[in-house]
Every structure is written in C-alpha cells, then in structure tokens.
C-alpha cells in the first residue's frame, strides 16, 4: 500500500508539479506580450497601428504620439553598431579559435566573456565621463570646424558637436555586442572538422587560405546566427544608450546629434508618464520593441537550425 502511494501517486504528483511550473513559465511569456499589447491598445486605437508606428511627432502636451523617430533610432543605432562590431568580432573569434597559442586564446576568450559580463550602466558611466569628452574633442569638434570652413553644407548632416548623441551611443553599443557575435562564431569555428583543414594544408594552402576557403564557409551558419543575435542585443540594449544618446524625440537626422531609441524612450519617460494616452503610447512602443526583437531572434534561431554543421558545403 505504502509503495503504491510512494510510486504511482508520487510520480503523478511530481509530474503535475513540473507541468504546473512549465505552464507558469509559458503563462508569463504570453502575459508579457498580452499586457504590452492591451496596455498599448489605447494608443493603437487612437492613431491606428500603422499610424502610430509611422507617426513622427511625440508631444505629451499636444497628446500626439508616434513611434517612428524611435523605431528609426533603434534601427540605425543597431545596424551601425553591428557594422562596426562585425569585423573585429570575427577577427577575435578567428584569433581565439585558429591563430593564437592556447594560453593566449584562453586569455582573450576570458576577456571577451568579461565584456559581456560588465553591466550596461558601467558602460554608460564610462561613456559619459571618458568616451564623450574624447569623441567631442578629438572627433566631433575638429570635423565640425573643418566642415564649417570647407564644406558648410555638411554641417547640418554632422549636427551639434556636443559629444552626447548618436556617435557616442553607437560606439559603446558596438563594443557591447562584440561578445555576442564573437562567441557563436568561435563555437562554429571550433566545430570545423580537423580533416577538412588538414586536407587543405596537404594541398599546400597557407594558413589564411585554409581559413578563407574552409573554415569560414564551413562556419558561416554560426557566424550569421551570431551576427543576428548581436543585432537583437543591440536593439534591446537600454541603459548605456539612454545615458549617451541625448534622448531627443526628433528624427535622428544627424551623425553627432541627439536621438533616441525605443528602449531609451521607455527608460527615460516611463517613470514620469502622466498616465492616459502617454502611458499607453509608451506601452505601445514597448510592444513594437517586443515584436522587433522577437522577429530578429526567430531569424537567428532559424539560421542556426538550418545552417548548422554539415550545411557549410555548397
């Protein structure tokens, strides 16, 4: 009798407990999307979904809200940061997995992991007090003065050389997403079979030719997936960008000038929102951000599954 309770009932209770916990996790995810969507429903109703996504005014006094400047700010900062980060991240992955002697590879891999472990606010702090003055005095002001003298038409494109703005935000963002692109690329390069490399060497290839013709094509699935994941990180990154980008609701039209991303808008305005339509609009921006990052993550997932090992050959 005891053993039946112990066995059958115990098993059933344990499975039920696990299922309840699993369902709770799923409930959290569904609720998250639902709460953002229903919280933002008022804004979507007032302006229409596309009207809200493409509206370029954000004015709490006039109760006009559109997410376009922030959507654009998010897309531009993430895309530029990714473009800046891609080659160095790939180089670091190749150095770790192919070129460096073991001890050095371990040190570099550890440091790159450390880059991912540092909190976003620490990047922001460093950005404000070290990078911003540097960018302002060494890059923006000389360029601005030069354009004032030689190419006045360029001044509008460059924007005010205050240091706080797109350029600083993008530089820090690029640094922050390197480990995400790098670690997947590293793993993919590690999975390239020895035979493939040795066959190339036996044909008399140089080391770079082996990397170029065998390693990179074979590992390209992992490299792509890493790039897309890094993009997802850049899209959702909040604190460092909020501290550096200047948080301006106008369209991000200039290289140095202030702008805002969807995440920085929420971080900056949500605590002070008056409620009503403004609160709803911020939640609606959150919902758009959720959709964007979901799409990017699902793409990364898809690439990783489709182009994993063995698919490298053409």
């Amino acid at each position: 009798m005891r053993s039946r309770i112990y066995g059958k009932l115990g098993d059933r209770a344990f499975t039920a407990l696990l299922v309840v916990l699993g369902l709770a996790v799923m409930l959290v995810a569904v609720l998250l999307a639902w709460e953002l969507a229903s919280g933002g429903a008022e804004a979507f109703r007032t302006f229409g979904f596309w009207g809200f996504a493409s509206g370029s005014a954000w004015n709490a006094v006039a109760e006009q809200f559109g997410a376009w400047p922030f959507l654009l700010g998010t897309l531009i900062t993430s895309a530029v940061a990714l473009a800046l980060a891609f080659l160095p991240a790939l180089a670091a992955a190749i150095a770790i997995a192919e070129y460096a002697p073991r001890w050095l590879a371990e040190v570099v891999a550890y440091l790159i992991d450390l880059l991912a472990a540092l909190p976003s606010v620490v990047y922001g702090l460093w950005g404000i007090f070290v990078l911003v003055p540097l960018v302002r005095d060494r890059i923006e002001q000389p360029l601005f003065l030069w354009s004032a003298e030689h190419a006045p038409a360029l001044m509008g494109v460059l924007g005010p050389p205050t240091g706080i703005g797109m350029l600083s935000a993008v530089l820090v963002l690029a640094l922050m997403i390197v480990p995400y692109a790098s670690s997947l690329a590293r793993d993919a390069i590690h999975m390239v079979p020895r035979d493939q490399r040795e066959a190339m060497y036996a044909l008399g290839a140089t080391r770079w030719e082996v990397v170029r013709r065998v390693v990179l094509p074979y590992a390209r699935g992992g490299i792509f997936a890493g790039v897309v994941l890094a993009l997802a990180r850049a899209i959702g990154e909040t604190m460092a960008v909020t501290m550096l980008i200047g948080n301006s609701g106008q369209l991000p039209y200039s290289v140095f000038g202030p702008a805002a991303t969807m995440a920085s808008l929420i971080a900056n305005e949500f605590a002070e929102a008056e409620g009503g339509l403004q609160l709803s609009s911020l939640l609606a921006v959150g919902f758009l951000l959720l959709l964007l990052s979901l799409a990017v993550n699902l793409i990364a997932d898809f690439i990783l599954r489709r182009m994993s090992v063995g698919e490298g050959r053409k």
Binding site: G7, L21, P88, W126, M239
Partner: protein
C-alpha cells in the same frame, strides 16, 4: 599564383586578425582601468556602512543600495530558480511530454526579450495593482530575466547524464520522481549551481528592469513591498547627476558591482569544474 604573394597575404591577414582583436580588447582595458582607478578612491568605510548623503554635503555611502541589491536579487533567484528548474527538469527528464515543444519555444523567445520590457511588464502586472513601486515587483522583473537562462542550463546538464544512471535507479525499484530527485539532480548539482549563478550575475547587473519597479530609495529598507535601492540603479542616477561627489560614488559603485559580478562568474565556473 605567385608563392611569395600568397605568403605575404598570409602574414598580412595574421596582422589584421590580431589588430581586430586588439581593437576589441583595448577599449575593455580602458574601461577596467578607469573603473578601477576612479572607483578605488570612493571605496571607504562610510561607502559600505552609511546611507547616501544629500548632494554637495560629501560623505555618505551606498549601504541601502548594497543591501537592496542582495535582497532583490535573492528574491528574484528564489522565484526564477523554482520556475526555471521546473521547466528544465521537465524538458530533460520527460523528453516526450507534449508541453516540451511549446516550452522550448517560449524559453527561446523569453531569452531574447529586452530586459526593459520585463520592467514594463512587472509595472503593469505588479506595481499598478499594488498601488506603488516595490522591491517585490523588481524581483519579479529580474526573475523573468533569469528563467530562460536557468531553464536552458538545467536542461543541458541533465541531458549530459547517461541514461544508464536513470535505468539503474529504476531497476532498483525507485519510482521516477525519486530517481530524478535523489539520483539525477544530485549528480548534476555542479552544473545546476552554475546555471543559477550565471543567471544571478546576468540579472544583478541590470538597471533597466528596476527603473519603474524597485524605483530606488535613499533609506535603508528591508520591506519587500516598498521601494528599494540597488547598485545598478544608483550608478545610473548618480552618473547623470550634476554633483561631483555623487559621480565619484557612482565610480565606486561601478567598481564594487563589477567585482561582485566577476566573483559570481568565477564561482559559476568553479562549480562547473567541480561536478
């Protein structure tokens, strides 16, 4: 092709690869250097034992934020740990359970949601109904951040264990739940602890989910239903303030937080090696 040119290109590419690596590591070196040199001066006895002083007065410390960090993060770990472990065990030990496919998708999706949205969610779900900012709502936001990390780590370590271990237990007449609790989980202890610590380190550095949940509080508080401070929040608030002594303390807090996260990460690695 000309052999000399091929060798030359080979050497140039080696240089470029190392140059690219240096381009990544150099800024990291500067960040660590600045955080250390600027932060070390702010760390003194008062920093660890005093509540913050009003701006301009000088002195004061981070005691509420340090205590708050531990309170919020441990609450989050308790919540996220239970849900994450449950989900992970379900996926690894009952591979043919119909819930697994959607659960895995959800774990993937949740892992990619920006941290600030966890804060929004906790605001709508907890702060609004309860009528005020609270440490508990911050812990909820961080727990959601931890769940996918813990789930994935748990599933991975359990998968590595050989099926013979489970079969041996079943052959002795143990029911499945005893096999899981008494054989599988102890055998995977090291890896599970690693997952928990990594999730903790990831969440402890986040300020975004706490902005409108835990909110911050200049007074020492242990009340989970009231607002509470946390180191990442304090760094953010102090960094954008115009007061010199606050900024100095922000560097100190950044150094302390970075050291705490490094220790947690180190412990996580060691737990993995032990198992």
């Amino acid at each position: 092709m000309n052999l000399r040119r091929r060798y030359l290109r080979d050497r140039v590419m080696v240089a470029l690869v190392y140059l690219g690596t240096a381009l990544v590591l150099l800024p990291l070196g500067f960040i660590l250097l600045h955080v250390f040199t600027q932060g070390i001066g702010a760390l003194n006895w008062a920093f660890f034992t005093q509540p913050p002083a009003p701006p301009g007065e000088g002195g004061g410390g981070m005691l509420p934020a340090i205590v708050g960090t531990f309170v919020i993060d441990l609450m989050a770990l308790a919540m996220g740990g239970v849900l994450g472990l449950g989900g992970g065990v379900l996926m690894a030990e009952y591979p043919d359970h119909p819930l697994n496919r959607p659960l895995r998708l959800v774990a993937n999706v949740l892992g990619g949601v920006p941290a600030i949205l966890m804060g929004l969610f906790a605001f709508v779900l907890v702060v609004e109904p309860m009528g005020g900012f609270s440490a508990f709502s911050g812990a909820v936001a961080l727990a959601i951040l931890m769940i996918p990390i813990i789930m994935r780590a748990t599933e991975e370590v359990l998968r590595i264990l050989p099926w013979e271990l489970r079969e041996a237990g079943l052959a002795l007449g143990l029911p499945r739940w005893r096999v899981t609790l008494s054989l599988i989980l102890p055998a995977a202890r090291g890896g599970i602890v690693t997952g928990l610590l990594l999730a903790l380190a990831r969440a402890a550095g986040e300020a975004a989910p706490l902005l409108f949940t835990a909110f911050g509080n200049p007074f020492l508080s242990f009340d989970p239903l009231g607002p509470m401070d946390s180191l990442p929040l304090k760094i953010y608030v102090y960094a954008i303030s115009p007061y010199e002594d606050w900024i100095r303390q922000a560097w100190g807090a950044a150094l302390l937080l970075a050291l705490m996260l490094m220790v947690t990460n180190y412990l996580a690695r060691r737990a993995l090696r032990r198992s």
